[in-house]
């Protein structure tokens, strides 16, 4: 048998990564005007995933969209997604409610390496929708709190009405074992908290660069300035981690859509260190 024949036999035995499994919506809530939160359960057994991975969500008849998993596997058999309505599929998802069913492929991609961070300090910097993928690692670390050193969580949004997971972020702050700070670019009359870009919060916190990891996820402009801030604090490039967004289709490193230089974001990413990202050029 040639290699192709061997692969064919193997391939026939494996479930196709192109066929979606069915998931049922346990809970769906509109978090903001454009962001909708889903709690889901697979119908044929739990989704086994790691923090930082993503799934492709199918609305049958319309198509698929790649969505970060925003929950942590420590939360049990259900998983959660935060979906921003921007395209055909994600706008259709606005109509989906408790009890409805969706197709799910994946999980795809690598994940946040929570093991190498053990015993170290972590600073999370999440801007806008970047809080969704970051939350998968935040929840993991908070659920295994004693395994980690000092935890700092910085959350930013354009305006108070765009803040995601508002109640949950307050709960994190109340725990007493994490330094949680929230800021908005522009306040409204009801806002009593910090105002200004997220990098301003760096002046208010203490960082020990010898043992700190920085997880930075947010829009490109936020990422660029926050990385400069983290580097200025002395955090080395290989301990600054991020999650990249791309137009991803197949999820298995073939279709080419998410390619940046020689890297397939869907397969080799979406989690990268700054040391890797800075060489990708088209990356951010």
């Amino acid at each position: 048998m040639t290699q192709i024949d061997v692969d064919l036999v193997k391939g026939a035995a494996a479930p196709s990564p192109y066929v979606p499994r069915m998931a049922r919506i346990l809970d769906a809530t509109q978090m903001t005007e454009t962001e909708r939160f889903f709690r889901l359960q697979m119908e044929d057994g739990p989704l086994e995933y790691e923090p930082g991975q993503f799934v492709s969500v199918t609305v049958f008849g319309l198509g698929e969209a790649p969505i970060s998993i925003c929950s942590s596997p420590t939360q049990g058999e259900v998983f959660e997604l935060t979906v921003r309505s921007v395209g055909l599929v994600t706008n259709a998802l606005k109509q989906f409610k408790k009890g409805d069913r969706l197709g799910v492929r994946g999980p795809f991609g690598n994940h946040f390496d929570y093991d190498v961070m053990k015993g170290q300090d972590i600073i999370f910097v999440a801007g806008g929708l970047g809080l969704a993928p970051t939350r998968s690692l935040i929840r993991y670390v908070l659920d295994k709190r004693k395994d980690y050193g000092k935890v700092t969580i910085l959350v930013g949004a354009r305006e108070p009405k765009w803040l995601l997971f508002r109640d949950e972020v307050q709960e994190w702050a109340k725990r007493g074992d994490a330094d949680v700070r929230v800021t908005v670019d522009r306040a409204d009359a009801s806002w009593k908290g910090n105002v200004g870009v997220i990098t301003k919060l760096f002046g208010k916190i203490e960082i020990d660069p010898a043992k700190t990891w920085a997880a930075i996820v947010g829009p490109p402009v936020m990422f660029k300035f926050t990385v400069l801030e983290a580097l200025a604090e002395g955090i080395p490039e290989h301990r600054i981690i991020c999650s990249l967004e791309r137009n991803m289709k197949c999820g298995v490193g073939k279709c080419g859509h998410c390619q940046i230089r020689g890297v397939y974001v869907c397969r080799d990413g979406p989690v990268f260190t700054y040391e890797q990202v800075k060489r990708l050029r088209e990356g951010i």
């Binding site: 290699q3 192709i4 024949d5 692969d7 064919l8 193997k10 391939g11 026939a12 494996a14 196709s16 990564p17 192109y18 066929v19 979606p20 499994r21 069915m22 199918t58 049958f60 008849g61 319309l62 198509g63 698929e64 969209a65 921003r84 921007v86 395209g87 055909l88 599929v89 994600t90 409805d100 069913r101 197709g103 490109p220 967004e245 791309r246 137009n247 289709k249 197949c250 298995v252 490193g253 073939k254 279709c255 080419g256 859509h257 390619q259 940046i260 230089r261 020689g262 397969r267 050029r281 088209e282 990356g283």
Partner: protein, 337 residues
């Protein structure tokens, strides 16, 4: 040796079709020769270079890879098996045959693509030693040759000044085709004609090296100005393999299609939210050249170009990847001085 008179090639196709093969061959239709499924009466033309590549029969323009039945609000995803008829591709150019090795690598690093692999396993490739070439051919610049047999299960050699062909099986699949041909092939003697000469236009290794250091070169803007972003180059290319997944629905069912796609199109990398990390045609043409001459070499150890020249023959704007590579090679030489 197995020999067949040139005017009896349709007889070979008929014998193989009779033995249960879907026979693909270069068929003349008016002014064009295309690789299509042979049917009785079709004229096989081994002189002209076919407009399309043999890739079409392993990685089709569109194929159903998923299906879901809709019954009211009840969806049922269904597994779809690959459609993989027993096929022989007759007189594939060496540049098409060698492209199979790149496609094998792409579709089998990590996840083994069952759709591609099923067709690959069911397909026998009988290549043709080129005795004709045109000014767009540059296989010899990218490690190929008019008489190369990489990726082929058998080879047809034109002989006796074009009066006949010698069929030489190279693999078990090739031997099976020769056996299935039966009396269409005769035992005999013939003298193979010399392959055509294709000049070397650039040093591919040097191009790969240059690309590693010149992502930001002003050359990208200069060489891409003419590009209309039509995608014809990718669709004719024997190695281009990027695809899109699209769902198409009726009231009763939804099918998921895998369609050809290309980095030359603006929407290829566009996010639903509007951001496009590859914002202009210079970045897209750079991706096309980089993917073929740098990224694939880095990841899979093979060039993503076999020098077939189809992209240049079809380009409505007169662009040619061979020309870009020659410019790069010259830029490199100038820089060394």
């Amino acid at each position: 040796m197995k020999v067949i008179e040139a005017n009896k090639l349709p007889g070979l196709a008929a014998a193989l079709a009779g033995a249960g093969y879907r026979v693909v061959a270069p068929i003349r239709d008016g002014g064009e020769v295309r690789m299509v499924v042979w049917s009785p009466g079709a004229a096989i033309d081994t002189r002209a270079i076919p407009v399309n590549s043999a890739k079409d029969f392993l990685f089709p323009k569109a194929e159903i890879i998923g299906r879901c039945t809709l019954d009211g609000n009840d969806f049922r995803p269904e597994d779809v098996k690959p459609v993989a008829p027993k096929t022989v591709i007759l007189a594939a150019r060496p540049c098409d045959a060698s492209a199979m090795l790149l496609l094998d690598a792409v579709f089998n690093w990590d996840y083994k693509d069952e759709f591609f692999n099923a067709r690959r396993a069911a397909t026998t490739i009988v290549s043709l030693v080129c005795t004709t070439a045109d000014e767009q051919c540059f296989c010899t610049s990218v490690g190929g040759a008019p008489d190369a047999t990489a990726g082929a299960d058998g080879v047809l050699r034109q002989a006796d000044g074009g009066r006949s062909f010698i069929l030489e099986p190279l693999t078990e699949k090739g031997k099976a085709v020769a056996a299935a041909a039966g009396a269409a092939l005769a035992e005999g003697q013939a003298k193979a004609d010399a392959p055509v000469e294709v000049p070397v236009h650039f040093d591919a290794k040097a191009v790969t090296e240059w690309l590693g250091e010149n992502f930001e070169s002003p050359l990208w803007r200069e060489v891409s100005l003419a590009c209309l972003s039509c995608g014809a180059c990718a669709y004719a290319c024997p190695t281009c393999h990027c695809f899109d997944l699209q769902d198409e629905a009726t009231r009763a069912e939804s099918v998921r299609l895998r369609n050809w796609d290309t980095c030359g199109l603006a929407l290829f990398t566009a996010h639903a939210g509007g951001h496009n990390p590859r914002p202009d045609q210079a970045a897209r043409w750079r991706q096309r050249v980089m993917h073929k001459f740098s990224y694939l070499v880095e990841r899979l150890g093979r060039l993503g170009c076999t020098g077939c020249g189809r992209c240049a023959r079809l380009c409505p704007a007169g662009m040619a990847i061979c020309e870009t590579c020659r410019e790069i090679d010259e830029a490199r030489k100038a820089a060394v001085k």
